[in-house]
């Protein structure tokens, strides 16, 4: 197999990786600081897609970008509600109970979506500017939108890195992820910080949902089809580690791409094999937050 084809696949895989990173970054931050394994994270991603569709079609003249921004806000509001009302009650409980709680969110949000939007598939058009592709040597096409997703992933990664490492708030989140007691010792309003971080995570999921719109059938249940992959990424990367989520997203995305090229019949098992291999060698993920 020629080198240019491999590089081509590498870039194709990267666009999937970056989409995965957009979703998993939010989950890993929430899981790291709040210590809540939010099973409904995929559902927030779904809501991002639905809201984008809704704003795109209900506001006359709304552009894709405007629709996504509005959708992200809407998902953020829902995230704030989920954190503020039910989740706050169970911070001290076991992971199992927290999982069950967030599972109940999935049930409710899925059915509410079904009630308002129906069960038919919806489809978000690729914005005209990005609908085309570049033709590469060898008569290969590189879709503009795939490159756009890569760009979005890198920009979000950079902004999160800035936010987490260069601002006071980010440093608090870092400190809190490593050591919960430290936050209250520093006199921080912990509940407010938690709400803020949960909303940030929800916003990232919503953004990913909106950006995934042009690549996917928007449908109820699209969150459940991706959530295990996202959890796998967070765990492989190390809970709470942004760098870990970034690297693990690339691993999963590229593994999926090259796996399909070289070992297509194992496609269903790729992610799980990766999880097993990583956890057996690094029981706390690639990048452990101390």
């Amino acid at each position: 197999m020629e080198l240019s084809y491999l590089i081509y696949q590498l870039i194709i895989g990267l666009s999937y990786s970056m989409l995965l990173f957009l979703i998993s970054s939010g989950l890993t931050i929430i899981f790291g600081l709040l210590n809540i394994p939010n099973f409904a994270h995929g559902t927030l991603y779904m809501l991002g897609a639905y809201f984008t569709y809704f704003f795109l079609h209900s506001l006359p003249g709304a552009s894709f970008v405007v629709a996504i921004i509005l959708a992200v806000i809407a998902v953020g509001v829902i995230g704030a509600f989920l954190e503020y009302v039910p989740l706050r009650k169970i911070y001290e409980r076991s992971h199992a109970l927290q999982l069950l709680m967030t599972f109940s969110f999935i049930l409710m949000l899925d059915d509410a979506t079904k009630y308002f939007a129906g069960t038919d598939f919806l489809s978000i058009a690729t914005p005209k500017l990005m609908a085309g592709s570049f033709t590469l040597p060898g008569d290969r096409e590189m879709p503009v939108y795939s490159l756009f997703i890569i760009l979005c992933g890198l920009v979000v990664a950079y902004l999160l890195w800035l936010g987490l490492y260069k601002t006071r708030l980010g440093k608090l989140v870092q400190a809190g992820t490593a050591n919960k007691e430290m936050l209250s010792a520093l006199g921080i309003n912990v509940p407010r910080l938690f709400t803020l971080v949960f909303v940030l995570g929800a916003v990232l999921a919503g953004l990913a949902g909106g950006l995934a719109g042009p690549l996917k059938a928007v449908s109820v249940g699209m969150g459940e089809t991706i959530i295990i992959t996202i959890f796998a990424i967070v765990i492989v990367g190390g809970v709470g580690s942004l760098k870990g989520a970034f690297i693990a997203s690339i691993l999963v995305g590229e593994l999926n791409t090259f796996g399909v090229v070289f070992f297509p019949s194992f496609a269903m098992a790729f992610t799980y094999i990766l999880v097993i291999l990583v956890l057996l060698t690094k029981p706390e993920g690639l990048f452990r937050i101390k």
């Binding site: 081509y8 069960t119 059938a217 699209m222």
Partner: protein, 420 residues
Amino acid sequence: MAKKKITRRAFVKVVGSGALVAGAATFGVPTLLRASSKPIKFGQLNTTSGIMASQGVPGMRGAQIAQEIINQAGGIMGRKLELVQEDDQVKPSVGVRKFRKLVLEDKVDFVFGTNSSGVGLACVPLANEFKKIFISTSMSDKYTGSNCSPYVFRIGESTSMASKASAYCMVANEPGIKKWAGINPDYVFGHESWDFFKKGMKEKKHPVEIVKESYSPFGSQDYKPYITALLESKAEGVFTSLWTGDLINFIKQAKPFGFFDKVKAFVNNTTSFATAIGLGDQMVPFWGEARYYPFYRDTEINRKYISMYRKKFDGYPGADVGAECFATVMALKLAIEKAGTTDTPKVIAALEGLEFEVPEGKKWIRPEDHSGIDEVVLLGKFHRDSKYPFWVYDPKTYFTVPGKEIAMPLDQTGCKMAKP
């Protein structure tokens, strides 16, 4: 084995007969019969929650429309038709539990439905155990093959029919294409579809070079590696049995690669018309094969089905399963009337060889294996039509195969049915 003749007389006008029965129920029927005005109960299993709700919900709706038509016309032999609908959650274990509930608790007379063969096949042993008729609305050939039973029917197209019809259509319309590739879902249906497509090509003695065979897991998020691999194989024609969300995801991700320009023919054997509705103006030109295509037959029953569906549910009746469930309810009604009773063995006998017309067209149930056989199976190539907010088949490309021609020959079904 003697083939059963289809006589013109035997095609029953569903609506007309309904009206007749309604009249009979009110005036002509002896009091003895009228006294048993207990409703006739049909139990239905389909998926109304989760990712497969896009299939199951229209299935429920299709049956509800049939029920409304029947009851407005006076019911079945003067008895009201009652539907008991249950969500199978696409889980065979739930399907089994709900089947038992329908039979034992709700005391339904007949059971039908399912939009996944996993659930449907799980119901087969129960139908045998409870000696209840079960009519499947999912596509597996096994209902009328290795798992066939006196109590089990499948009145819609099967996987083999849909796949072979796709092959025939390609041989007829794209005879120049020799290099074929497949992208199919990585489960039984996908593998069978691809095998039957190749078989269909062989039957037509079409020289085929298979340049790529790929299978993607159900619910794949990223089809780009499959797409680039297909393009790299330089296939001229691509067959797929992806369906529902998977098909939409594939199409949306393939489009920017110029896939539908580079590949001369793309043919799909399970194009629920809901796909076209879902994609709207982002649709691409490809060959579709649907069990139900709303705009082909301008028959009274089809018009009625579409108009009632649109009025009741605000949307087009795109999904196959909707029409399939509608057809099933109608077939059962006719069989009950033909048998004059809801007694299972007699209704089985009445269903065997039944000919009827539904929105999907005219159908006949082959007695030997209980397989429904359409008068014709239709394919067409999607194009933009300003009359509709979505793409439809280009009428110039309509391609039909007589159902009997592609029905699995009786000696190949593997069905050994012991009559009850």
